[in-house]
Each structure stands twice: as C-alpha cells, then as structure tokens.
C-alpha cells in the first residue's frame, strides 16, 4: 500500500509521524471487534467443535498420568528439584496447545478466507482497514485459546499438577504466547501462495512441539544443541509456563514476556501491512 501523505497536511508532531509511518492512515478503522462478533455468530452453531477443542489436551494429560508417568518417576524441574513427570509435561502442553491453536487459526483459517472466500475484500470496502482484520482475527483466536487454556488449567488443578498460586498468571501468559504465535503465523500466511506451502508451517511447528523440552529436559541434549533449542519461541513459552505452574518464579521471566510482546507487535503490524498491500493493490 503506497499511501502518499500530502506534506502540506502533515502538521502532526514528529513522534506521531513515526506512528503514522508504521501504521498509515486507512490501515485502522477502529472496528476490529465487529470481526470478533462475526466469528462468534459463525461459531454459534458450531459450539460443539469449540468445546471439543478442550478434549484433546485433556486426553493428553490423562495419558501422562496413566502411561508416560509410570515409566519416569521424576524429572529435574526448572530449579533442579525433582518433580513428577506429569507436573513437568503438563505446563509444556499448555504452552504447546496455545501455540498450535493460534498457528492453526492464523494460517489455515485466514488463508482460506483471504484466498478463497474473499471475505476480507468485502470488509475492506467498509471503513474497516487491514489492521482491524488482523486484530479481529487474532482477538478471536485468543478468545478461543483462552477458553481452552482455562479448561486445561482447571484439569491440571484437579489432577494436582499445580504447585503454586502463580499458576493464575499462566492464563494471561498463555494468551500472550498465543497472540505472538498467531500474529507471526498470520504474517507468514500473507507470504503463502498455495496450500502446498502449509507443509512449511508443519515443518516449523512439529519439530518445535517435539523438541523444545516439551517431553524431556534440556539436559538430554549435547551443549551446542541446547543452545539451538533455547532459541526456539516454544522453549521460552514452556519455561514461562513451567515456572508459573511449579512456582519457580524469578525476574528473569520478564525476559520471556518481553520476547513474546515484541513478536506479537511485529507480527501484527507486518500482517496488517502485508494484507493491505495484497488486498489494496
């Protein structure tokens, strides 16, 4: 989108000018919430699918207690103290499901609406702008993700896998993680040409899910691999969740929070600008 600003009219101070350069006028109409309203309307009949989404993580948790936990009595937790295997993996699954849900919503669903349903074309003929679309889609994904995460935490509590009141913060943390993954996923989607490219999404998400210390501690890896693993976003998410549900909390965790806040902001702006330049060519 090449929106040229008439220099004579740019009376805004320099700081506002910068914001305008990142978020040009016309990008945002302030109506992102109506997109959430639409999603709610569409899913009103599909509440079954919505609720069903909570089913999967619960199965996972259950299989942890019944099966996997029987092989491994305890694992070293974040502070080196041994914790039960279920208590070790459960927060990691919470992080992973926040990632999976957000990525799914932001890639498959958005690609479909964008490419085939032409839904966004219709929206952009109204006062809404690309940023409304990006924020609206992400907000809906978060609402849904939040619902699942809350259910997941409740089940964890019921199974005695929560060791600290800090776990209350795991819900907003899960939302932040989902926000970041959703925004980056959506930005990536705007670069995709066909369904074939979604293998690349799988290729990014699956190894992260399996190897970012979800099922076993970092110490399993040789030194150089450890460094690689600690760079992945899911590792940061898992560290955050594990610390909160196990009550091992420190100032260092704010680093993870900042990491995801930056991802979320950059992802949203890139997604909105890319959507704009694709739809408003």
């Amino acid at each position: 989108m090449t929106r040229t600003l008439d220099p004579a009219n740019r009376t805004a101070p320099a700081s506002v000018g910068l914001v305008w350069r990142i978020i040009p006028p016309g990008l945002y109409g302030g109506r992102a919430s109506t997109l959430v309203e639409r999603s709610a309307l569409v899913n009103r009949r599909g509440w079954f699918v919505l609720v069903g989404g909570a089913f999967e993580p619960i199965l996972f948790l259950w299989s942890l207690g019944l099966g996997f936990g029987q092989f491994v009595a305890s694992v070293a937790g974040p502070d080196g103290q041994p914790v039960s295997y279920a208590a070790f993996v459960a927060p990691a699954l919470l992080a992973a499901s926040a990632m999976n849900g957000a990525v799914y919503d932001a890639t498959f669903n958005v690609f479909f609406k964008f490419k085939y349903a032409k839904l966004y074309d219709a929206m952009l003929a109204t006062p809404m702008g690309p940023l409304d679309i990006a924020m609206g889609e992400i907000a809906w994904a978060l609402l849904r993700g939040g619902l699942y995460s809350a259910g997941f935490l409740a089940v964890m509590l019921g199974m005695g896998l929560i060791a600290s009141p800090w776990a209350l913060l795991a819900l907003p943390a899960a939302l932040l993680v989902a926000f970041a993954f959703g925004a980056v996923g959506m930005a990536a989607t705007t670069f995709m040409r066909s369904w074939q490219d979604f293998d690349l999404v799988q290729l990014a998400v699956l190894p992260m899910f399996l190897f970012s210390t979800t099922f076993f501690p970092l110490s399993v890896y040789p030194g150089w691999l450890q460094a690689v693993v600690t760079w992945t976003p899911l590792y940061h998410a898992i560290e955050l969740m594990r610390g909160l549900t196990l009550g091992v909390v420190g100032w260092g965790m704010l680093g993870h929070v900042v990491y995801f806040a930056v991802l979320a902001a950059v992802g949203t702006v890139v997604a909105a600008r890319r959507l704009g330049s694709l739809l408003l060519d």
Partner: protein, 311 residues
C-alpha cells in the same frame, strides 16, 4: 473548491487518473466527473480498465498518478471516511458464505459501526427491497446467481450510501434476472442515490445511464448521454447485411455514410435503412439476410475503436 464537503456537486472528480500494475498500464490518464443524482456509466470491453477505475474510486486500490476526489475528499488520506458513505458492488460477489442471508446484511452494517438494533431494522428493509424476505434465514451458497447479486446490492445499501458503485451488476445473469435488477436500480436512482455502473452491455448502458464514458485500453474514447453519443458518432439507422460464409463482400461504400466490415456481415450506416436496402437490391446485390435497426451504443463503440464490445 472541495472545502464544503456536504455540498459538493461533483461526487467523483478525476483528472489524468492512472493505475499501473507493475509495468502494465491498466488506466492511462482519464478525466471523469460524476454529478450528484445522476447515473453514470463506464462502457467498455473486458480489460478496458473499468474495474481498476472503480476500485480506485471505492478507495480499495491506490492510484498511481493523477488526481482523484471522492465526495470531495482524497482517497489516500480519507479512505475510511469516504468508504463510510459509499456502497460497493464488486464485479464478483464476495458474500459471507458462513452466514445466512439476513446475517450477511446485519454484520455488514456492524462493519460500518451501526448499532445492532439499526442493523436488524435495516436488514428487514433491505430483504424486502431485494425480494429475498422468504430466504432471509437460508444459507447463501444455494441461492441463484440473480439472488446473490441482489443480496450483494442490498448489502451495499446497508449504510444508506450517497454514492453506489456497481461493477458489472448483471453480467452472467439471465434476461429475467437482469430486468428485475434494473428495476431495483431505477428505484434507487429515483430515491436520489448517485450510481456509477460499469458494463460491457450496451443495452444496460442505454437503459440505466444518464451519462457515460466509452472506455477502451485504459483511455476514455468519448463522453456524453447515450443519445448524444449515438447522434455524434453514428447515423439514425443501420442496415445489416449477411452473406454466404466465405463469399466475397461487395463494395457498397457509395450507398451509405459509412460501412463497417465484420467477419460475418456488413453494417451500412444511413439515415433511412429501408431506402438503402432497396438501392442495394436494385444494384443486384443479394444478401442471404438483411435487417434494419436503430443505431446503438454498440455502433458508437465500433466507430470509436474499430472493434465490437462483446467478442
């Protein structure tokens, strides 16, 4: 000149407007003025640049060069403000297939920031207008082409637009569905809505438009009311003569003001078709079929570009 936003008489004003896609020039410098209350047409074949122009006016596509004011505002700066006051019917329906007919209208109203109550009322009113009341709570997908088109038009009216943009509103519809749509568009015009219509059907342009431009290859070839254009670029009547395929077509220049040679027939432009036909017969020319008709915009287009509108 554009300060008084509410009172502008030219709802659209374009000067030397251009649109490039990469190195391709889709719109090559057009000047257009659309006055309040009129029905304005862009007549031209596929690829003329009609949709590209409409998308710029609808503020969903930035211009490459030239000047453009819509409702007295600059689309680059005031896109959302302009879009709030216009209605858009795109060339291809982009209805929300996950919602019912009624919900399509209601949610669209919400995109404009209307209250839920107002959206509900408006939806009822528009369902009536589009003659879709009995389908209100049906899915969109199974509707016929004409119904979908009417729904798209109804949707574009949800914000009571001052200016309605219709990109090929009846392309692909059967004659009955077209007439029904034309009837609805007449009503809108009577209600004072300014219409901009693109079409490659000359009958549609003649029926609906007070004024139009003939567009070809990204440029405007002529401008005026349908009758003005016909008077200026054509004769009163046309004699069409059809010959055996492959047979050599006789030279009949001297019997008409102008002759167009098409692959399958000859068109003789003349003030009195019957008289010309008699003279042609006298001369010993025996076409297998002949037809006298009034001149149309099709003939204007042929005169201006040397090509037919629909190929």
């Amino acid at each position: 000149m554009f300060v008084n936003v509410g009172g502008v008489e030219n709802l659209v004003e374009a000067k030397a407007l251009t649109k490039h896609f990469g190195t391709f020039e889709a719109v090559r410098g057009i000047d257009v003025e659309v006055r309040r209350g009129e029905a304005f047409g862009f007549l031209g074949p596929n690829g003329a640049g009609k949709s590209s122009t409409m998308r710029m006016v609808a503020c969903v596509s930035g211009r490459t060069g030239g000047e453009l004011k819509v409702l007295g505002m600059d689309p680059d700066r005031d896109g959302p403000k302009i879009r709030a006051r216009i209605g858009v019917v795109p060339q291809l329906d982009n209805l929300d297939l996950e919602l019912t007919v009624r919900q399509n209208l209601q949610i669209y109203g919400r995109y404009f920031g209307m209250s839920r109550q107002r959206c509900r009322e408006k939806a009822v009113e528009l369902l009536e207008f589009a003659q879709l009341a009995d389908r209100a709570d049906h899915e969109v997908e199974p509707l016929s082409g004409g119904m979908k088109r009417r729904l798209t038009i109804a949707r574009s009216l949800v914000n009571d637009p001052e200016l309605l943009l219709l990109d090929e509103p009846t392309t692909g519809l059967d004659p009955q569905a077209r007439h029904l749509l034309w009837d609805r568009l007449f009503r809108l015009k009577q209600d004072g809505v300014t219409l901009i219509i693109t079409t490659h059907y000359m009958d549609e342009a003649e029926q609906l438009c007070d004024r139009l431009v003939v567009m070809d290859g990204g440029r405007i070839a002529a401008e005026g009311s349908p009758s003005e254009l016909i008077n200026r670029y054509s004769t009163r009547e046309v004699l069409e003569l059809r010959f055996q395929p492959g047979a050599e077509k006789p030279d009949l220049e001297r019997f008409a003001e102008r002759v167009e040679v098409l692959p399958d027939r000859l068109l003789l432009y003349t003030q009195d078709g019957e008289h010309t036909l008699a003279k042609v017969h006298e001369h010993g020319v025996q076409p297998i079929q002949s037809l006298v008709r009034r001149s149309s915009l099709e003939d204007v287009f042929l005169r201006l570009t040397g090509r037919t509108l629909v190929d």
